[in-house]
């Protein structure tokens, strides 16, 4: 399958020269600065107000830039970062277990199965400690021990305790910290906040990102906003699968519009399937709920040894249970990384050993730990999670094992960015989950929060100045330029087309169809045959969508169906690109598992000779294969080895 042109190795990450540990310091010391007086003359647009967006908007405003921040939610505090449960990593070594910047860097590269950029990941590990300091200064109530100092816990795939946490609501507390910083700057006038605004296009002037077209979701008004730089911090695209742990509103639209305007989309097929989610209970299901990875510290995962065993779990004797993770991976057992645990669950269910009504679930059993430390002890550790499980499933996990199944959780892919977090479109920066840079093909637990805040607080505020130093004499960008006019017209036409399309099927119908295709063919395991078929199916779905979708209501009002229609349209195109990317990558790595490329034991088989690159795709039109650009991944400081958790 080579229906697209490949252009090799032309993408330059522009990572600074020098020893790994000195790159970032050296870079910060030498990038150009913008003086305080000049910062006042520069406008920056930040789209998205999650961890990355809110922290960036606040920090840039504190520095003196004029910031305009946008979010589609009714308040910046509701961005989906808020739902992260587990924690945030930082190489503080407070527990004296030998942690260091290098170890965090190394774990992240290895966990990502050697598909991330060395210099970026090292910087991430380096600034991780500042994040904790910053957040504590803001009043984030991290867990503490009785001496009043910060507490840590351990997460999957690592051998140190470097995860800071705030019960099961770490994401919420970190986001509220960033939100408070953002609110402070809104109050002071440094940030103009646009709640309930959705970015519907990127505006480029002379090849540079100079503004956006946004829709006021209350009035439906289409607005032009200009700036000297545009920062996208719009999160991941897991909702392409329809069912995911993402919020209902999480979408790829801002990224996709930038992609259509020339920004390369990197590694779109790298999606993380989280192993411990509450299984689908029926066709009505709208989203999936995660059960924190921390449960795998004490829960044991098993299925019956007998196929199609319909006995109640408690009636299945010990010797008729298959603790398949402990069997297959004796060294790490139930604490293997997410991709490995997810695939193993799928393997068992596909082979007919699944449990529950749908047979698409495995048991996560706490009987042993309850025996050991008692129900009260378990409640102290996991009480809120057990309660959450019971609320949703109406089953008491103290008495019967939880039923869990993997679900889409995070997307490692995203817009391609260089070391400065600037995309290939000049002046367009991409932060957090929306970019591709730090997690390779699999993200480790508690690293998403770290990356979002690193990008927003400690990276982009430094790197953006290097670019903006050229703009101190530009003056305000006019919103009356023809580029704005054209972009606005295109947006209006597109919206009008939706409401005037008197089809018959609701938007959700198409979203579910798309989700089914992508989940089945581009989910936990993929093969060339299926991916080719998926591309055909998705293109057919796209045509059907534009012909038959029904969007009631008008354009100039709050119209949630219209919002969804625009997002699903972009997801459909993205789905095809994900399949194209997965098809191109003839290897298995991290979250990308191609059935054709596995070891005899069924483990992922990487091909470092041919695929140690970032696949960055250039948009060519809906239904037209994208053009591949490669960024070769060079590891100067570590050796690429086969991951093993056996």
């Amino acid at each position: 399958m080579s229906e697209y042109r490949k252009e090799t190795s032309e993408l330059d990450a522009r990572a600074p020269e020098g020893p790994l540990a000195e790159k970032w310091t050296h870079h910060k010391d030498h990038v150009r600065l913008v003086s305080p007086g000049n910062k006042r003359r520069i406008d920056i647009i930040v789209v998205g107000t999650g961890l990355a967006g809110a922290s960036a908007a606040a920090s840039l405003a504190e520095m003196g830039y004029n910031v305009k921040a946008f979010c589609f939610q009714d308040s910046p505090r509701r961005a989906h970062s808020i739902a992260a449960q587990g924690g945030i990593n930082a190489a503080k070594n407070y527990q004296n277990d030998g942690d260091s910047t290098f170890r965090l860097f190394y774990d992240t590269i290895k966990g990502g199965d050697y598909r991330s950029r060395e210099a970026n990941v090292y910087r991430l590990a380096e600034v991780s400690t500042h994040i904790i300091d910053q957040c504590v200064a803001q009043g984030v109530p991290f867990a503490r021990d009785y001496g009043g100092l910060l507490d840590n816990r351990s997460f999957g795939g690592v051998q140190v305790s470097r995860t800071f946490y705030a019960r099961g609501q770490t994401g919420q507390q970190l986001l509220l910290g960033a939100y408070s910083a953002l609110s402070k700057m809104i109050g002071k006038g440094g940030v103009k906040m646009y709640n309930r605004h959705e970015m519907l296009d990127l505006v480029k002037v002379d090849g540079k990102a100079r503004g956006i077209i946004a829709r006021n979701l209350i009035t439906g008004e289409i607005e032009r906003h200009s700036a000297h730089a545009v920062i996208l911090a719009t999160g991941g695209y897991g909702n392409v699968f329809f069912l995911s742990t993402n919020a209902m509103g999480s979408n790829v639209t801002a990224n996709w519009k930038a992609h259509k305007k020339g920004a390369y989309f990197a590694n779109p097929c790298f999606t993380q399937i989280h192993p411990t989610c509450i299984p689908v209970s029926g066709d009505h299901q709208s989203k999936l709920t995660l059960m924190s990875e921390s449960l795998r510290n004490d829960g044991r995962i098993w299925v019956p040894k007998q196929k199609g065993d319909t006995r109640k779990p408690n009636l299945i004797p010990e010797d008729e249970r298959d603790y398949y993770l402990e069997r297959r991976y004796p060294a790490f057992g139930n604490l293997v990384p997410r991709d490995v645990a997810s695939r193993a669950a799928k393997e068992r269910c596909d082979a007919g050993y699944g449990v529950g009504a749908s047979k698409m679930a495995v048991y996560l059993d706490f009987a042993d730990i309850i025996k050991r430390i008692g129900a009260d002890g378990v409640a102290a550790k996991y009480g809120n999670l057990f309660q959450m499980y019971e609320k949703i499933t109406d089953e008491n996990p103290y008495e019967v094992p939880m039923r869990i199944y993997p679900a889409v959780h995070y997307t490692m892919g995203g817009l391609w960015v260089d070391y400065n977090l600037m995309s290939n479109v000049e002046g367009l920066y991409v932060l957090g989950e929306a970019n591709f840079s730090d997690h390779g093909s699999n993200r480790l637990g508690a690293s998403a929060l770290m990356q979002g805040l690193a990008d927003g607080y400690f990276v982009v505020p430094y790197t953006v100045g290097d670019y903006l130093a050229d703009d101190i004499r530009t003056g305000p960008i006019s919103i009356n330029l023809p580029e704005f006019e054209q972009a606005e017209k295109a947006v209006k036409d597109r919206l009008a087309a939706f409401v005037n399309n008197k089809g018959s099927k609701p938007v959700d119908y198409y979203h579910r169809q798309l989700g089914k295709i992508v989940w089945e063919q581009c989910g936990m395991s993929r093969n060339a045959e299926g991916l080719k078929q998926a591309i055909i199916d998705i293109n057919a779905l796209r045509e059907d969508f534009y012909k038959n979708v029904r969007v009631p209501g008008g354009v100039n009002e709050l119209n949630q169906e219209l919002e969804k229609a625009g997002r699903v349209a972009d997801f459909i195109e993205l789905g095809a690109l994900m399949c194209q990317d997965a098809l191109d990558r003839n290897e298995s790595c991290g979250g990308h598992f191609r059935e054709e490329f596995q070891t005899p034991e069924g483990e992922a088989l990487r091909d470092d000779d041919n695929y140690a690159y970032v696949a960055a795709w250039e948009y060519q039109g809906a239904g037209v294969p994208a053009i591949l650009h490669k960024e070769e991944l060079v590891y100067e400081n570590i050796k690429m080895v086969q991951r093993s958790y056996k």
Partner: protein
């Protein structure tokens, strides 16, 4: 099961609204309340009607978007949950279910069940923060904080800003929301330097937004999905009294030469 829904429909902020009845059939007890509304909306779209606008996002009880007044209570029957965590097994066959938006002067209705809660944002903007710029603060472990205080601060900080406190309060008072933020920050040593300005400014903004007064009915505490205690209101009352008595604004100083 089959249910009769009575839902508040209102075309826009200035339009008249009314309760409209919709039957829904074949509801699975495993559905969440919002999934039941999804089903209703898909039917409405297929019939050519306008779907019911309602707010929701994370659907796991943490973002604070969902905000329905169900059968006379915010987030419906059940305690410690948001609407998205309410499941249909809490309802009986043939039951009539009333669904309304939050009602408060400070939360004007935008459409159907969607209200504008930006008053909460403005209250936070007036002072709900610690003024520390991004940069190089002291090491996180440089200030030990008593575990008890840290835990209590956390309890206050779990507020999701949904507005159920306002919705449940017969006076549409925002005291629980405001006090949770005041309490969270004042319990921590980092928040102390600004404590007086914070509580004065946030209360002034709360009043300016048109929320009612607290009469200690405790409805907010009962309905809060995160179980935030009215002890925080008492703490804010203390803080405000102390601040109002002792606060003197810093004098303007002339900069150096």
């Amino acid at each position: 099961m089959n249910l009769k829904l009575k839902i508040w429909r209102q075309k826009g902020p200035k339009a008249e609204g009314k309760m409209v009845e919709y039957p829904v059939n074949d509801v699975s007890p495993d559905m969440s309340f919002l999934e039941m509304l999804d089903v209703l909306n898909d039917h409405l779209v297929e019939k050519g009607d306008e779907p019911v606008a309602f707010e929701h996002d994370c659907r796991e009880g943490i973002c604070g978007s969902c905000s329905l007044y169900i059968n006379g209570e915010p987030h419906g029957p059940g305690r410690g949950i948001t609407t998205c965590q309410l499941h249909m097994r809490s309802f009986k066959e043939g039951e009539t279910v009333y669904i309304e938006p939050w009602r408060a002067k400070a939360f004007p209705i935008i459409k159907d069940l969607v209200t504008d809660r930006s008053a909460f944002d403005r209250i936070v903007q007036s002072g709900g923060f610690i003024s520390v710029n991004t940069g190089s603060p002291v090491d996180a472990n440089a200030i030990p904080i008593r575990k008890e205080s840290a835990d209590e601060a956390f309890d206050a900080a779990t507020c999701i800003g949904c507005g159920a406190c306002v919705a449940s309060c017969k006076n549409a008072s925002a005291m629980l929301f405001v006090s949770a933020k005041v309490s969270h920050l004042s319990l921590l040593p980092q928040g102390q330097p600004q404590a007086k300005e914070r509580v004065l400014a946030m209360v002034a903004q709360m009043d300016a937004e048109g929320f009612g007064n607290c009469t200690n009915t405790q409805a907010c505490e009962v309905e809060c999905p995160k179980g935030i205690s009215i002890e925080h209101i008492a703490r804010m009352n203390r803080e405000y009294l102390g601040a109002a008595i002792s606060y003197s604004p810093p004098k303007a100083t002339v900069g150096g030469d």
